[in-house]
Symmetry: C2
């Protein structure tokens, strides 16, 4: 039963219904428990695109980038792990998964390559993880962008995306850091403002928001920050698997709005 | 609403109900969507024990083995990855997770240490992955057990467990191999008989069955066997994350019977 049909059915129930309809209510509950992807973001045949910086790039091969669902094209990070979880766990969804993360990139660099590396690919689901370089390169003196520039650039990128692809389901991943390695006190509280900006932009554009910082804040209760990301920025396989599980859980449980 | 309450409510609906009860049917559907662990295998405060061989052991520290939810005690394999996914994703469940896998072990070696390493620990959820050494050591001429010995030993271990811990929720993980490294044609079709035996034993004892071989058979469509387990037996971080996600998905979706 599609979401709209179910809503209509429940409305008819609430308005007063026949005995037959009452009997069917048990079936509605049973149907809710059946795995179905008809009203899922991960609809059959959906094209899923991961975009971002080095955390998304994760050593992906450019040579086979045009091939969907190819491990070398998807790299060795959370994007590939999330992809493999979806491909193996939901084979009937026939997803077409791509990665176009590029190491070192900030929001304005995504914008520079957006036609080719996003809009022309017409993704149904577009996941973006961006922001750590916007602050890191600024702290290092190699970039003059502020959190306002980050938010405005990000907002403009999503507005442009929605205009070109009105049906796209956006997934905004929260920028995160672990407090170790390259991440020292200088990052705070400014980094929290970048996270808040990402969340505001996600809400403005009705994106699914994947709360990676909250996840890692919980994770450090069980293992030290270095276990999850040695340099504080680039996740280990343990960090990547946690991200992949969180991404798949969040996105696969979300319903088409 | 607990499972039994919900069943009673749906029965009362089916038997004929008042307008107020009909209105409440919409709430029942809404309640189904809320995350709740009351009727979940992963109930609040549950003790979860991973048992098995080197795949489960995965370099765990014996020094801190008594501490639940400790990364060093849980090792670097699928058990730790599954644990971290549960601990981080379900903090309200307050799970107490342990690992007692020991490298090289076969079923009879689990039996030898079962009082101390399982029954005395009184797990609520007991996950066992065992079998690859039962065939591997036999093929290598270092063990004379057959698939019948494996099945009978496994059956007896579970009967003993259920007698001591009638309420325990068993999780039997399917033994698996990738066709590479140490795993050559000599393994087949005999290995398939070990898998079938594990499944029979799981069904006999009402265990949740985690289909790892089916999962890896799907995974090799996207990356070569060596990507998932270089020697065909011990999973890489990529293999472990897939196992962890599958384990958590299967067990967290299972309901208390």
């Amino acid at each position: 039963m599609a979401v709209t049909d179910r809503r209509k059915f429940m409305q008819s129930l609430a308005a007063g219904a026949s005995g037959a309809a009452i009997l069917s209510a048990a079936q509605v509950v049973a149907d809710e428990k059946k795995p179905t992807h008809n009203d899922s973001v991960l609809a059959p045949g959906a094209t899923v695109l991961f975009q971002g910086d080095s955390i998304t790039d994760a050593g992906r091969s450019r040579d086979v980038a045009e091939e969907p669902n190819n491990q070398k094209a998807l790299g060795n990070g959370y994007a590939w792990m999330a992809a493999s979880q979806m491909l193996v766990g939901l084979p009937e969804a026939n997803l077409q998964i791509f990665n176009r993360g590029i190491s070192g990139h900030k929001v304005f660099q995504l914008a520079d390559r957006w036609d080719k590396d996003c809009l022309d690919m017409k993704p149904n689901v577009l996941s973006i993880l961006i922001g750590v370089n916007d602050i890191w390169h600024m702290l290092g003196g190699n970039y003059d962008g502020t959190v306002t520039v980050y938010e405005n650039d990000f907002d403009a990128l999503l507005a442009r995306t929605k205009e070109a692809l009105p049906q796209v389901q956006l997934v905004i991943c929260e920028p995160f850091v672990l407090k170790c390695g390259a991440v020292d006190d200088k990052w705070f509280p400014m980094f929290d403002e970048y996270r808040a900006a990402a969340k505001r932009v996600a809400e403005k554009h009705s994106a699914i928001f994947v709360p990676f910082q909250a996840m890692f804040d919980e994770a450090v209760k069980y293992a030290p920050p270095e276990h999850w990301a040695r340099d504080g920025v680039h996740p280990s396989p343990f960090g990547c698997q946690l991200m992949a599980h969180e991404w798949v859980k969040t996105v696969s449980h979300a319903k088409v709005s």
